[in-house]
């Protein structure tokens, strides 16, 4: 458990954040730049000293203004992955990786070099200097270095922000593996909703130094009131499903979710694997009668829970299929023509081709745990 409640005045900007996150899994701190995300993890690491409050990780108090405790950075045992990597330019990759491990007590060593090399795919880089690495390689080494220091929590400050799209795609699977295979809680700062939705078990949304909302990506994705905060987020529902079958002839996978089956292109994993699917609102069409002779593979029957009309041409609808929520974005004209309102029975149509590598990912291995958010 990371239990945190801090206040800090930084010039005009006031930070006042409290939250608790579980012992495992990945918690995303999400918000626009300037929302105070980095300040929060800097405070956890001890790089920023709060004016008041407390910070506890796994029952260990790192900071408490009431008792005067303030553990120095180097004794906090937090791994920190900086946006720019910050590899030591005068040391080889190997010495960078081992820098923290050599300084950690032997009894704490749960993660060893071989495991990290395999997990992050960096065995071939050991003899190189940081200047000879690509941006993505640097970031993987930085992550490995932080983990080998045997931290009790891994803090990541927009580790993908400085990378281009191909490099991001290169690293994302490694981050999923970290989340699922290591027993180290991760606090992940990001302003990119796609990363957050793909990686997080839990999201804490920060706005102007305060917690605006907290919950699972599914819960937050459905909250239409958070739309302005989530920014240019392509609205959509997040569905955790499991791999049921793969049809090699047509190269299609069938995923089971609470309310039906979803057919997506490609091989989405081994049978039984958890797969997280993001169904974009604009990819969901609606019909009041079940269509026949249609190319669309995924047709679900469900009900309208809420209709939110927006200024302009569009409306967004919250729908329920079994126990699963979907979002649909259609024109206001269609809503009016079909007479859709809360409680209407509708058929949802989702084209299989609307799924791609951006919308399919391994689901977090740990089910979302309880959270509380205040402030």
């Amino acid at each position: 458990m990371i239990d945190l409640s801090i206040r800090k005045q930084l010039g005009e900007f006031g930070l006042d954040v409290s939250f608790s996150v579980p012992e495992q899994g990945l918690t995303a701190l999400f918000g626009r730049s300037g929302a105070g995300k980095t300040s929060v993890i800097a405070a956890i690491a001890g790089l920023l000293r709060p004016d008041e409050g407390h910070i506890r990780v796994s029952g260990r108090t790192l900071f408490d203004s009431a008792s005067g405790e303030d553990v120095p950075v180097h004794r906090r045992r937090v791994g920190y992955v900086f946006q720019e990597g910050r590899l030591f330019p005068h040391l080889s990759v190997r010495d960078n990786l081992l820098y923290g491990q050599r300084r950690s007590p032997v009894v704490n060593r749960r993660i060893d070099l071989d495991e990290i090399l395999e997990l992050l795919g960096i065995a071939a880089l050991l003899g190189r200097r940081p200047r000879d690495l690509s941006g993505g390689e640097k970031q993987r080494v930085a992550i490995g270095r932080a983990l080998l220091a045997q931290p009790e929590v891994l803090l990541m400050d927009e580790p993908l922000a400085s990378l281009d799209a191909p490099r991001k795609r290169e690293i994302l699977p490694y981050l999923e593996r970290l989340r699922d295979e290591l027993r180290v809680p991760i606090v992940y700062v990001s302003h990119a909703i796609e990363e957050v939705v793909r990686l997080a078990n839990l999201v804490v949304v920060l706005d102007s130094g305060r917690v605006a909302a907290a919950g699972t990506p599914e819960e937050l994705g459905e909250r239409l009131d958070l739309r302005p905060l989530l920014g240019e987020f392509e609205s959509g529902a997040v569905i955790d499903a499991s791999m049921e079958a793969y049809d090699a002839v047509f190269d299609l996978s069938t995923l089971a979710f609470d309310g039906g089956r979803l057919r997506v292109p490609g091989n989405a994993g081994v049978i039984g694997a958890k797969v997280r699917v993001r169904v974009r609102a604009r990819d969901v069409s609606l019909a009041t009668q079940k269509p026949v002779d249609i190319s669309v593979q995924n047709i679900f029957e469900g009900s309208v829970e809420q209709v939110a009309e927006e200024p302009g041409a569009y409306a967004e609808l919250k729908l329920r299929v079994g126990n699963t929520r979907f979002l649909s974005r259609v024109t206001r004209e269609s809503v009016s023509r079909l007479g859709l309102r809360t409680g209407s029975r509708v058929f949802l149509l989702v084209k299989s081709v609307s799924f791609d590598r951006e919308t399919l990912s391994a689901a977090p291995g740990i089910a979302s745990a309880g959270q509380r958010g205040h402030g």
């Binding site: 950075v73 180097h74 900086f82 030591f88 005068h90 200047r131 220091a149």
Partner: protein, 231 residues
């Protein structure tokens, strides 16, 4: 090729300059670190004091050294009573005079190299469990090494050329304090010393130039090593 007199002045100059660098380095490291990294009231004054030898006439610096490190000076008296050490009229005194004069140059070079180190690297080392001292020796010091080396070479070259402070503090004694510039001075002061002076001048020119070239080469090597590539 060189006369005994010239060789003597040359070796003495090298000895004085080397000792001068060794003497000032620890203080220069400290001063540069304080100036680059620590904020405190009166920092402008401290900065000014460090740079003072650049602005003061060297003869005045030599005179102040005589007042301070002389046998009746506060520091000189203590050194003599405690260690039996006398500085005036000795080559060690000459080293102190050149060390003081070249101190600002060395501090400047080291300070720049500290300022160019991303302090984020030290924060990173801290999160990896390195204590402040550990961080200084494993991160800060290695990264500032190019600046330290070039600072040393520049100070060495400046020490080879220092005149006013030396002649005032330790006078002009052949074999003890008569470095190349002092030997040149003596030669010029002698009505028929022009040719001897020209030879000595050529010698110190070669020496100074090689010093500065070595400094540049070291700096370039170090930049390459640290991954910046040549600038």
């Amino acid at each position: 090729m060189l006369t005994d007199f010239e060789l003597q002045a040359l070796w003495l100059s090298l000895k004085v300059a080397l000792r001068s660098v060794a003497l000032s380095l620890p203080f220069a490291l400290g001063a540069a670190y304080v100036l680059a990294r620590i904020r405190f009231p009166g920092k402008v004054l401290f900065d000014g004091l460090v740079h003072l030898p650049l602005a003061l006439p060297p003869v005045l610096v030599g005179y102040l050294l005589l007042l301070t490190f002389g046998i009746r000076g506060p520091l000189g008296g203590w050194l003599f009573e405690t260690f039996g050490l006398r500085l005036a009229f000795t080559s060690l005194g000459a080293s102190i005079a050149t060390a003081v004069m070249s101190f600002p140059l060395m501090v400047r070079s080291i300070r720049l190299s500290i300022e160019s180190i991303d302090s984020g690297l030290e924060s990173a080392a801290a999160t990896l469990g390195a204590s402040p001292l550990d961080r200084f020796f494993t991160i800060t010091l290695p990264l500032m090494l190019p600046g330290v080396l070039s600072g040393c070479v520049v100070a060495f070259a400046a020490s080879l050329g220092e005149f006013g402070a030396v002649i005032t503090f330790v006078s002009n004694i052949p074999g003890e304090t008569q470095t190349l510039p002092l030997a040149i001075y003596s030669a010029v002061q002698t009505p028929d010393g022009d040719a001897a002076a020209a030879r000595l001048a050529a010698l110190s020119l070669v020496l100074a130039l090689s010093g500065l070239m070595v400094s540049e080469i070291i700096a370039r090597r170090a930049r390459m090593m640290l991954g910046g590539g040549p600038e």
